[in-house]
């Protein structure tokens, strides 16, 4: 079912995608641009939050929710029965997560204005205690989400539910040992319905990954761990779509898939792009104004 464009939001409806039924790259770009606007405006309104990684994973999550995932926002339940599921293991990337969920129809975009405020459903890191549709599990303490995703994937196998479980990790997050415990577990238990993604932007709080902990070649590591490993360009919609296509074809291979998306922290705004400094920093008002000008407006409209 194709999206119908309206003035302030995209009508999503029931998404039962076949790979031939895809949004054009232009359409995805429009959503991504709006998501980047949302990210910066949310973080500035809250005076805290994590824009850098949110912006590096924007194109990935936009494609995931608007092209790939089988879902129905209107009838969403936490047990995900009969639907695809998603875990944001890099839990600090709530700005992109909440924006994508809102723009996909899980809750009104106007609610993005409440991000991180007292009493808001949009907690600083994903919470399942505020009845926010779309959130399957709490996250934020890095390294744990991939394990939860393994549990979801295993649950689906036990229930003979043919759908996929997706999980987004950070490359800095991949310094946590538990990521690799989950990596071993997924291979041993043949979780070929599990598609993990790494936002491979090469940056973490204290600097470039290579200078902080030097985790080397993630592609070699995941391949050695026994996963189907795909490397893709995280800001190129053709590459992203192709990666998901290949990943989904892995069902039946008996192996989980890791897509390593090469991305740029802060992508989309010139003074934010390519530096580690914007992991958790808030743009000043004049910087926000500059950023929004660079991004340009979209037909979806700001919250």
């Amino acid at each position: 079912m194709k999206g119908i464009w309206r003035k302030k939001c995209i009508f999503v409806g029931i998404r039962n995608f076949t790979l031939s039924d895809m949004y054009s790259n232009d359409q995805l770009q429009e959503v991504s641009t709006q998501v980047r606007r949302d990210i910066l405006r949310m973080v500035c309104a809250a005076k805290s939050g994590h824009p850098g990684g949110s912006m590096s994973s924007t194109d990935i999550l936009t494609t995931l929710y608007f092209n790939v995932m089988k879902q129905d926002p209107a009838t969403w339940t936490r047990d995900g029965k009969g639907q695809d599921m998603f875990i944001l293991s890099a839990g600090h990337m709530t700005p992109v997560y909440y924006s994508v969920l809102a723009r996909a129809g899980y809750f009104p975009a106007s609610e993005l204005a409440t991000f991180r405020t007292f009493g808001a459903r949009l907690q600083g890191h994903p919470s399942i205690r505020k009845s926010l549709p779309g959130i399957f599990q709490a996250s934020g303490s890095l390294g744990q989400g991939l394990s939860a995703a393994c549990g979801l994937a295993l649950g689906k196998k036990l229930d003979k539910d043919d759908n996929f479980v997706f999980c987004l990790c950070g490359d800095g997050e991949s310094e946590e040992g538990q990521i690799w415990e989950a990596g071993m577990f997924a291979v041993f238990h043949k979780l070929d319905n599990l598609i993990a993604m790494t936002d491979w932007n090469g940056k973490q709080i204290d600097g470039p990954v290579a200078e902080v902990a030097g985790e080397g070649d993630l592609a070699e590591k995941w391949t050695a761990w026994g996963w189907n490993t795909i490397v893709a360009e995280g800001h190129d919609f053709d590459s992203i779509k192709k990666a998901f296509e290949l990943a989904k074809a892995g069902k039946g291979s008996g192996k989980p898939t890791m897509i390593l998306f090469k991305t740029e922290m802060g992508h989309g705004v010139d003074f934010m792009a390519g530096t580690h400094k914007w992991h958790g920093s808030v743009p000043k008002p004049e910087q926000l104004e500059d950023a929004l000008k660079q991004l340009g407006e979209t037909s979806l409209g700001d919250f």
Binding site: I128, A138, G177
Partner: protein
């Protein structure tokens, strides 16, 4: 006083194994996970009968906790099993984030708890686990007293909706509660009514408390013995009703002072009904190698020490 018969010593972890199998037969959503300790956790019978519902996680406890949470989210009722230290201290953040904060319906089957783990020594013996689990909001903490009660508590845990920490032990101990008595979470059991002093105990110390009551009876002291199998939520009414009556309390547990049943009871009394309390616990010590019975005696976790504490409490009235 009321007499209790030991029908034959059995280990409480075997009670868990039997309870798990029964729970698994009653509800197909029950699944079991372990971190390379299937035999020690007595999961063999469950694994043999429900091979597709038994999930070996290998020596990777942190991942086991997260995977269990994921399974719970899809609607399963997962029991995760390992030695107590390795499902509490070792994975505290994981339990907190994935199970507690994440409200995942996971049951933590915590074996070899306390000093009676024995010869492996202090790296494996935990006397802090109940403190850690009590500190987690909404976590139910259960320490059943014998094989039968552990079986029944396991069945109750499977039916309860919410995270449960179920703590039991390695050695064979007296088995004296009814075989099929329904375990009611949050309800203390008055094992013996008395008027002179109240002994509140949990786990392996309950049988010791009953023996202490016998010692005291011979000296003309009538002790009320309460099995506080659910440490959280505490059965506050049972404690207060008894304290009003006896005005002297002893709390006995196979756990250190910090954050255990004793401090839970003392905290309640301080708030509601200040009463002299004496404590029988591991104080502020690590364990060490030894047989379970040698260790219990050496660390003062036995009937003799409970009886002495009871007399001290009475003297403070």
């Amino acid at each position: 006083m009321k007499k209790y018969i030991d029908t034959g010593k059995k280990d409480t972890r075997s009670g868990f194994g039997v309870g798990l199998l029964e729970a698994g037969r009653a509800d197909s959503r029950v699944v079991a996970l372990t971190a390379d300790l299937k035999g020690s956790l007595k999961m063999d019978a469950f694994a043999a009968e429900f091979p597709e519902r038994f999930i070996q996680c290998g020596i990777a406890e942190a991942n086991m906790v997260g995977a269990a949470a994921g399974l719970a989210i899809t609607g399963k009722i997962p029991f995760i099993g390992s030695f107590a230290e390795f499902v509490t201290g070792r994975v505290y953040d994981q339990v907190r984030q994935e199970v507690s904060y994440g409200k995942a319906n996971v049951k933590i089957a915590s074996s070899h708890a306390g000093i009676t783990l024995g010869e492996d020594g202090a790296t494996h013996q935990t006397m802090e686990d109940m403190a850690l689990m009590r500190a987690l909001p909404e976590m139910v903490v259960i320490n059943p007293c014998d094989f039968n009660q552990t079986k029944n508590a396991t069945i109750a845990a499977a039916k309860y909706v919410g995270p449960v920490y179920l703590r039991f032990g390695r050695p064979s101990v007296p088995n004296f509660t009814p075989e099929n008595e329904e375990f009611v979470i949050g309800k203390a059991q008055i094992l013996n009514e008395g008027k002179d002093v109240t002994i509140v105990a949990c786990g392996h110390l309950v049988w010791e408390a009953l023996q202490a009551a016998e010692i005291l009876e011979a000296e003309g002291i009538c002790a009320e013995v309460i099995n506080m199998a659910t440490v959280k939520p505490l059965d506050e009414a049972a404690i207060l009703d008894s304290a009003v009556k006896t005005k002297a309390i002893v709390v006995a547990e196979e756990h250190n002072m910090a954050g255990g049943l004793g401090e839970a009871v003392a905290g309640l009394l301080a708030r509601a009904l200040p009463t002299p309390v004496e404590f029988v616990n591991g104080k502020d010590l690590f364990g060490q190698s030894g047989t379970p019975s040698a260790l219990m005696a050496a660390y003062g976790l036995d009937a003799q020490h409970i009886a002495e504490a009871a007399k001290k409490a009475i003297a403070r009235k």
